[in-house]
Amino acid sequence: MGVDAFEIVINVVKLLVIFLMMIQAVPILVWVERRGSAFIQNRFGPNRVGPLGLLQLLADAVKFLFKEEFLPRKAVRFLYYAAPVMALVPGALALAAIPLGPPIEVSAFELFGQRWGPYVFKLQGYDIGVGIVFILGVSSLGAYGLLMAGWGSASKYSLLGALRASAQMISYELALGLSLVGILLVYGTFNFYEIIAQQQGPLSFSWFGREVVGPWWLPNWGVFYNPVGMILFAASTFAEANRLPFDLPEAEGELVAGFHTEYGGFKMLMFYIGEYGHMIVASSLLAIFYFGGYGIPGLPVEVLEAKIAAGTSLGPTGVSVLTSVVSHLALLVKLGLFLWIFIWVRWTLPRFRYDQLMDLGWKSMLPWALANVVVTAVWLLLANSK
């Protein structure tokens, strides 16, 4: 965890802060979702508690906390209670592996009469070399929360909802995993930092041994190399997060509320935290793979750092911190945009039928993703041959 007390403390705090970020993002997203849906449908939405109804979330949380504890008859006690906890785990573990900004370099300093540093702190919970594989692996554990909830509740709606949800999740996991192969082909690495680093600067690629460079404002983003992969990835993350138009597991008309029919109060909220955590992870992956991560178009991280160093009178540590914060804000802007698209789509598109859903996953998206892999591989071979 680090060489000395300072580094260890910072690293543990980082883990906690990123986990809390996920938790505190949920009320905000719920507020955006409710106000946004109201806006789309010409309603008001929650606007009574606090300015713009912002405190509604707090009121809701307090209310959830004081809800009665309820265990359905014949429910499997352990699984019933373990399921919501399990729903939290994949999102939290995956989010901590995502880089939220460039590393902060802290130069050596004196404190308590002792010499500390220099340190390099990465803006993520833990740096895993094969980050993409780790996130795929961890998020494939998401099915257990659903299955445990479905089985533990001893209700047929829950069971059916859980089975549907997990069948849908695994079906779209194929398209998701396959659409990533395109990105791996283009960048040749599993490491998020390397992927983001390759997307800095203007669009440039080699075409039959000739270097093509675009205008300075056109960023070197993955979406230009792999547009089909981007669409497939986005669509399958919608299905993975069980969001409309893929929210069959909780199709109200048929299944009441799906796998969390028997849940209420804070346990219900924990499922929501898991779902929104999934959305946040998916949006940040979309930003990192296809939209340059924390990079600002036309302003690579090094240039930004040089400009900040020239424009302010901060020391090297301050410049590094400021660069990280500005880059992090750029990532947050992209994240917010994608999260808004998640919400927008929910209130715009109708729901699929279950057979249409499965057909789309297996018969359309999987072949398209395969074709995307083959075309990308052949294109890379042609473009790089001399």
Binding site: M1, L79, I128, G129, V130, V133, F134, L136, G137, V138, S140, L141, A143, Y144, L147, M148, G150, W151, L159, A162, L163, S166, A167, I170, E173, G177, T189, F190, N191, E194
Partner: protein
């Protein structure tokens, strides 16, 4: 001096073994499956402690994320609850089975113990960093083991067709006895 790495290993080994014992002793198959999933995850952790990050990720994706989900799903589909007699009967045969497993464990343990010169051998210098390790893995897989790789492709095709065909079979077994 024991380091963080050692404690991490002991923690993972503990989880793995507790999970393994629970798998074979749980009377409810769904608990067996969930414990096995935990065991798989901690085995992935053991892989990571051996610097095999990519294989650990694959372990999570394939075992914990796919195979165990299939197990849990099948158990849920059949609504398999607590089994009244989960273990095979017979005192003598049971004792023999336990004894043979014990002898087996003793044999392996003994052979490990007797290879004492490697017992405290220090590990070699760290392998290449993870990214390069994955590339080395890929290079070996696609040159030295290319034939096995294609055979695996054929095998998977056969399994895909066979499993679907099996699930369609209606008869093919004797009528139920007794």
């Amino acid at each position: 001096m024991l380091e963080l790495a050692d404690y991490t290993f002991y923690f993972l080994a503990l989880v793995t073994l507790v999970g393994g014992i629970a798998v074979i002793t749980a009377q409810n198959p769904i608990y067996s499956a969930l414990w096995l999933a935990l065991t798989m995850v901690s085995v992935a952790g053991v892989f990571v402690s051996l610097d095999a990050w990519f294989v650990a990720g694959v372990q999570l994706i394939v075992y914990a994320g796919a195979v165990m989900v299939l197990f849990v799903m099948v158990i849920m589909l059949f609504d398999l609850r607590r089994e009244t007699n989960a273990f095979s009967r017979g005192m003598v045969s049971g004792f023999l089975k336990l004894a043979s497993a014990g002898i087996f464990l003793g044999l392996i343990g003994g052979s490990i113990y007797n290879s004492a010169e490697t017992v405290f051998a220090p590990p070699p210098a760290e392998l290449e960093k993870t990214a390069d390790a994955t590339k080395a893995l890929a290079n070996t897989l696609f040159t030295k083991y290319i034939f096995s790789f294609e055979v695996i492709g054929v095998l998977l095709l056969v399994i895909a067709i066979g499993a679907v065909t099996l699930s369609r079979v209606q008869g093919g077994t004797h009528a139920k006895h007794d």
